[in-house]
């Protein structure tokens, strides 16, 4: 099996220039509070960096805005919480597979984290239960996490159980962590809200939604759609109906609005991703939101 991490890096370089990747790293770094006082070196300022870290003297000397870098004494823990229910094996809004988008998303986040020197772990789960992989900072470990996610999301996999996964994480993880939740356009109810509220108290929670394909999309005109949950076809002829399309769009908008409102209420920064190309901008925006929220 080819390396998923290599694939992630390749896609990162395709979808984001060097500079943008640097920005991403900056955004990631600034999310953390608490830095050691051990000075490491200087680097050029990038958007998103904390203004407090600017070395004004060095900046004046060099003519570039330079930033002090410190050795991180405390390694941060990043827990990737990935929904591996079989709905994650379906088609994403951009036409690709949601699993591949999820792998890329977690890969980007994990890659940035390991580059930063942090530890990355995994909690993935569905109706079959939740599996934990320990925290490590090596890219080899990240690779094995991605492989696990990739292998577990299957069309014939277990049903989705996001609430079970979140509840398990809330109970199992007591150390403060950065928790990145990757799921799809699941319906969120009061039970989810309660679990997320508690999770939010313990951890820094980030949320990425891999958006589902629009069922009435013209891209699928004349093609058979098969729901991974019900294994029941959605006849192509039915999906052309204009009234149905309007009603469906309204229903989707309502669902998204409800989900966004819920996440906002519990104070979780969230972004939506529909395709590989949207991963890096979305992660970037997410980190920016998180930093802004923390002030």
């Amino acid at each position: 099996m080819s390396s998923l991490l290599v694939e992630v890096r390749t896609k990162m370089s395709i979808h984001a220039h060097e500079k943008v990747r640097g920005l991403l790293a900056g955004e990631y770094a600034s999310v953390h509070k608490g830095r050691s006082m051990d000075f490491d070196d200087l680097r050029e300022y990038q958007r998103g960096d904390d203004v407090k870290d600017i070395d004004w003297k060095a900046t004046a000397r060099s003519g570039h805005v330079l930033l002090k870098r410190y050795v991180a004494v405390k390694k941060h823990n990043v827990l990737l919480v990935v929904d591996t229910g079989r709905t994650m094996s379906a088609t994403a809004a951009g036409g690709g597979n949601k699993r591949d988008v999820a792998v890329l998303t977690t890969g980007v986040m994990g890659h940035v984290a390991t580059q930063h020197g942090d530890l990355v772990g995994l909690a993935c789960g569905d109706a079959d239960g939740v599996t934990y992989l320990p925290l490590h900072g090596t890219s080899g470990h990240l690779e094995s996490l991605l492989q696990r996610i990739h292998a577990r999301i299957r069309t014939d996999g277990a049903a989705q159980d996001l609430l079970g996964l979140l509840d398990s994480v809330r109970r199992a993880i007591t150390r403060r962590m950065i928790v990145l939740i990757v799921t799809d356009e699941v319906e969120l109810g009061p039970a989810h809200e309660e679990v997320l509220r508690r999770l939010r108290v313990q951890h820094e929670v980030l949320w990425l939604t891999i958006s589902d394909a629009l069922l009435t999309d013209d891209r699928f005109a004349g093609r058979d759609l098969l729901d991974v949950d019900e294994l029941e076809g959605l006849p192509a002829a039915l999906r052309d109906d204009p009234q149905l399309r309007r009603e469906h769009a309204a229903a989707l908008a309502a669902a998204r609005g409800g989900r966004d409102a819920l996440l906002r209420r519990v104070g979780i920064a969230a972004e939506r991703i529909g395709s590989d190309a949207e991963v890096i901008p979305a992660v970037f925006r997410l980190l920016e939101k998180q930093r802004a929220a923390r002030g």
Binding site: R86, T87, M88, S89, A90, T91, K98, T155, D184, E185, V186, E187, D212, A213, L215, T216, F220, R223, D224, L225, L226, D227, V228, D229, E230, E232, G233, L234, P235, A237, L238, R239, D241, Q243, L244, E247, H248, A251, L252, A255
Partner: protein, 325 residues
């Protein structure tokens, strides 16, 4: 009318073949569908919409109707291929009837013959397949026309002869007064008529309508009773039109006996006007006598199944159009 199936074994064979074909097609389509289908999730956001349910219900009805139409078409087609046949009893006897007009053309008969021929000429158009022949005789017999179904010719001949009698055209009687036996040789004449039936070994209804006054004035080779026996032996009925002005004479009785011997009958005619009614009576009685043993006729009877198949096809096309296929 009862409908039966000629190749009954074909129905189960075809139905099994159709079912197997449908099963194979369904399997293949299902396999291809699941392989090609776009996998999606959370489709309940679409399927739970009232509009979707309404559309799905309509589609289901449409598919059900199409299934019914296809099954109807398959069943009708199968049965049609197995050749449904109907059977009916027919009475084809009428069409194997031979009638020989046997005319005594001795001088005393002229006015009657004119009427008789005119009546027959009117009767001919009612015939359907019966063969008519005509022989006339005095001392010797002449075939005017042999047994034929060429009714136009028959009518023409009868009309012409009838006119000839009216105009005393003796030329048309040429050949009927030949030999030295005398004239009005009734027995000879009857035998001559009887011998003019062809295809004697086939099973046909044969009758002679003989008009005579039964006044012999010569030495016939065969007497009337002898001739009647020959006619009876050949299974020919003799209907005698006894033209007489003497009532129940010996001659009349002899003629009646002769006719009865063959299973026919004799009618006394005193005035030419009576002939029309008599000829009709004879024709009717002949018809009644020979609508005998009904024959079973088998014929293709696809009607119901053709209608079913057609209805199925039309319904299928209509539904397919409605389904937007």
């Amino acid at each position: 009318m009862t409908v039966s199936i000629l190749w009954g074994w074909l129905i189960p064979v075809l139905l099994v073949a159709i079912a197997a074909g449908a099963w194979w097609w369904w399997r293949r389509t299902a396999a291809r569908t699941s392989a090609d289908a776009v996998r999606v999730a959370h489709s309940e956001r679409l399927t739970s919409l009232p509009r979707y349910r309404a559309l799905a219900a309509r589609r289901r009805q449409l598919l059900t109707a199409m299934t019914v139409a296809v099954v109807g078409l398959a069943v009708a087609g199968t049965v049609l291929l197995a050749r449904p046949i109907g059977a009916s009893a027919t009475e084809p006897e009428l069409h194997t009837r031979d009638i020989m007009l046997c005319l005594d053309v001795s001088g005393s008969m002229d006015s009657f013959n004119e009427e008789l021929l005119a009546t027959f000429a009117e009767l001919v158009p009612q015939f359907e397949g019966e063969r008519i022949g005509m022989t006339m005789w005095d001392s010797s017999a002449v075939t005017v026309f042999p047994l034929t179904t060429d009714y136009a010719y028959v009518t023409e001949q009868l009309t012409m002869l009838s006119q000839g009698f009216a105009e005393n055209d003796f030329a048309q009687l040429r050949g009927t007064y030949y030999g030295e036996g005398g004239s009005s040789l009734i027995g000879d004449g009857l035998v001559s008529c009887a011998l003019r039936f062809d295809a004697v070994d086939t099973d046909r209804s044969r009758s002679i309508i003989m008009a005579t006054d039964n006044y012999v004035s010569g030495n016939p080779l065969v007497t009337l009773p002898e001739a009647a026996r020959l006619v009876a032996d050949r299974d020919i009925r003799l209907y005698a039109l006894n033209v007489t002005s003497w009532g129940e004479s010996d001659e009349s009785l002899e003629l009646a006996e002769a006719a009865e011997l063959t299973g026919g009958s004799s009618y006394l005619i005193e005035e030419p006007e009576e002939i029309a009614a008599l000829v009709n009576t004879i024709a009717d009685s002949e018809a009644a006598a020979f609508t005998g043993a009904p024959q079973v006729l088998e014929y293709a009877a696809p009607g119901v199944f053709l209608a079913l198949g057609g209805a199925g096809l039309v319904a299928l096309m209509g539904l397919a159009w409605k389904a937007g296929l």
